[in-house]
């Protein structure tokens, strides 16, 4: 078997074909969407005991599968580590990368990738022990802070405290799991990392209610799905899948009421429900399938990371723009 593999490698290298742009055709032909997710991140992409992937990031891929193939289960998940994620996308091993990837200029401009939107606005936050009675980061002057070493978190922290003229004592650890051990044992009063991570770390405490996550966020980490550059048809599909989910929440269309809403007289809902598929090279039921099978953005959020999940992350900045957050999708028309 090895011999044939090597031969295969050699032939592949010689008869290297030019890149094909038609991800949509490939996906339709294969009958499934190849989706790169995190190897495991509670609430965002995690496998349940049946081996089914679930989470906020997973739902984006399921949405695309529902839009393109009409079946949200037609997804092949590839768990990827942070280091291999971009190569996997560039080499065509996956069609979408939905793996809590921060949208930055460098990544967008120099890696041959396109960010199709933001499905979670993350940022660095703080968790303090409840008995300290602190309700704002500005009252943290002089605190001992548990932090993961060698991350941007460390730099953000230093910048923030300097800007606000406060002092702190950093207690660094190698991994997040060690950081929470440090917090548990009382070596520090405060723990800082990305806010989405804070909530799952908090659950690792003996009594999760003994700690509170402060409302302030001191850095910008917009996370979103990524596709290969140069395939605009596919780019549009992923972008508008996400937009459809957000718009559906805004219009109050959920997986429960989507059937009735289809008959709605409201023209905006009518446009969401049909008539736009052709422009995306999809059939007219694309958005209906997404909402019916995956749900709108709010439903996905609540079920995976919000109140309906053990993580209980507040909507915060991820609330819709008309509800105090910044989640905003261009109109479907």
């Amino acid at each position: 078997m090895r011999k044939s593999l090597f031969l295969g490698l050699a032939t592949a290298a010689i008869f290297s074909t030019t890149a094909q742009a038609g991800t949509l055709e490939d996906v339709k032909k294969a009958g499934f969407v190849k989706c790169g997710v995190s190897t495991s991140l509670a609430g965002f992409s995690a496998a349940d005991d049946k081996g089914n992937w679930k989470g906020l990031d997973v739902d984006v891929c399921r949405g695309v599968a529902a839009a393109v193939l009409g079946d949200a289960t037609k997804v092949k998940f590839s768990p990827l580590t942070a280091k291999e994620r971009f190569t996997a996308l560039q080499s065509g091993e996956i069609d979408i990368l939905s793996r809590n990837t921060t949208w930055t200029l460098t990544r967008d401009a120099s890696l041959g990738l396109n960010f199709a939107g933001v499905n979670y606005y993350d940022g660095q936050g703080f968790m303090v022990s409840k008995k300290l009675g602190i309700d704002s980061t500005l009252k943290l002057d002089g605190a001992a802070i548990c932090i993961q070493a060698g991350t941007t978190t460390e730099l953000n922290l230093s910048d923030y405290f300097k800007a606000n003229n406060m002092k702190y004592k950093a207690i660094t650890f190698d991994t997040n799991d060690q950081t929470i051990e440090g917090f548990k044992s009382g070596r520090c009063d405060v723990l800082t990392t990305d806010q989405s991570g804070l909530y799952s770390l908090r659950l690792k405490l003996e009594d999760p209610n003994s700690a509170v996550v402060l409302p302030e966020i001191i850095s910008k980490e917009p996370l979103g799905p990524v596709v290969r550059q140069g395939d605009d048809v596919w780019f549009n599909i992923v972008k508008w899948t996400l937009n459809a989910m957000i718009n559906a929440e805004e219009m109050g269309v959920t997986s429960k009421n989507v059937d009735e809403m289809k008959k709605s007289k409201d023209p905006a809902i009518g446009r969401l429900m049909g008539g736009q598929g052709e422009k995306l090279k999809l059939d007219d039921n694309w958005s209906f399938n997404i909402i019916k099978q995956v749900g709108n953005y709010g439903e996905s959020f609540e079920a995976n990371v919000g109140a309906g999940s053990p993580l209980k992350i507040e909507r915060g900045v991820n609330a819709l723009w008309n509800k105090g957050g910044i989640m905003y999708a261009p109109p479907i028309r």
């Binding site: 768990p79 291999e84 080499s91 690792k204």
Partner: protein
């Protein structure tokens, strides 16, 4: 004067040279330094063992529906965390309905291997050959499916202990022959064969396994045409095999060098060709000599399989460390996962080590006097 023509009955040993007190005195309290060390050791044991036993066994929670059952004052390890998803720890994402297939493959291997341990089995070499050459092919078709009416199960669904064992078995089975050939090549007088072997061995020994895996998973796809789906597991296995083959080659070369020149000359004098003299005279002696070194390499290989986590494959450690710990309903049982995987690895490594010891005894390679 006392004279006797009978042998006097044996007297019991003096009181102070036998019994438990004497043993204690000689072995544990033979001087002030040793006494202090003994007391210190006992103190450490007292400090470590009872709490450990308490945590692992007496205070542990074995059955729990939710995380809260495991939490609370005086609760020890939460084994329910692992037991609840034990199937996943064993098989990864392998579909539940098809799990009989790896089971059959495993049982088949055990059944095949048992006669190897029985002294009187005839034609052991053929049986071993079957296990090493034919069996992997059968097992591959059984587990991978896609033919003979079996549902195909992609390798990205393989995981857990099953994956660990598959990678190690395949690694050992392919790396050993490759290593032997490289070792022979390195001692060859043919310049091209010799330099190729040296370059190969030195290259693969010189790079860390992590680098090899990263290259296989991150760099290789960039050289392949877009859309080529070259199985990730195959990539990792080839990497691990080539890497370990280089190590095995050096171990085997050590054995080859320990064989006296007379053996080579005697084999030639018998009129044996190069391959025959190697297969019948030299290698049987050389390989038995290096059993400890080989088993060392195999154990290292077995443990190295955990590194496949970094390329997104879920071996037993990765399932426990990553998949189970990402279940939002069961957060915070990191320690249990690590202790469990340590135990699993210890069982397999210890078994391999015992087997090698029994093999050495049987082949009497230690030249005990």
């Amino acid at each position: 004067m006392f004279v006797t023509d009978k042998i006097l009955p044996e007297l019991p040993a003096p009181q102070n040279t036998k019994g438990i007190v004497h043993w204690l005195k000689v072995n544990l309290f033979s001087g002030p330094v040793n006494t202090i060390l003994t007391l210190f050791g006992l103190f450490l044991l007292y400090k470590i063992v009872p709490p450990a036993v308490q945590w692992v066994i007496t205070d542990a929670t074995w059955v729990a529906e939710t995380r809260d059952t495991c939490r609370g004052e005086g609760k020890g390890a939460c084994w329910a965390y692992i037991i609840n998803r034990f199937d996943q720890v064993m098989y990864g994402f392998y579909p539940a309905d098809e799990r009989w297939r790896p089971n059959v493959a495993g049982i088949f291997l055990v059944l095949l291997a048992i006669p190897l341990f029985i002294e009187k089995t005839p034609k052991k070499a053929w049986l071993a050959g079957f296990i090493l050459v034919i069996y992997p092919i059968i097992a591959y078709f059984l587990i991978r499916g896609g033919s003979f009416g079996l549902v195909p199960v992609d390798t990205n669904k393989w995981g857990g202990l099953m994956l660990t064992l598959i990678i190690s078995f395949a690694g050992i089975v392919t790396a050993l022959p490759l290593g032997v050939i490289l070792a022979l090549g390195r001692r060859s007088t043919m310049p091209i064969v010799k330099s190729f072997s040296i370059i190969f061995i030195e290259f693969w020994r010189g790079v860390p396994l992590i680098t090899v895996l990263f290259m296989a998973s991150v760099m290789l796809p960039l050289f392949l045409p877009e859309g080529t789906d070259f199985d990730k597991l195959a990539r990792a296995m080839i990497g691990i095999t080539l890497f370990q083959a280089a190590y095995i080659a050096e171990v085997v070369r050590g054995g080859l060098q320990a064989i006296p020149k007379g053996q080579y000359e005697a084999a030639s004098a018998m009129g044996l060709s190069y391959w025959k003299s190697m297969a019948l005279v030299i290698l049987p002696q050389a390989l038995t000599l290096v059993i400890p070194g080989l088993v060392n390499t195999f154990i290292a290989l077995f443990k190295d399989t955990t590194l496949v986590l970094i390329i997104g494959l879920f071996d037993v450690l990765a399932v426990v460390e990553k998949v189970l710990s990402a279940d939002a309903a069961w957060l915070g049982f990191h320690t249990e996962g690590l202790v469990f995987s340590a135990f699993v690895f210890w069982i397999f490594c210890f078994a391999m080590s015992r087997y090698s010891m029994s093999l050495e005894r049987k082949l009497d390679t230690g030249h005990k006097r």
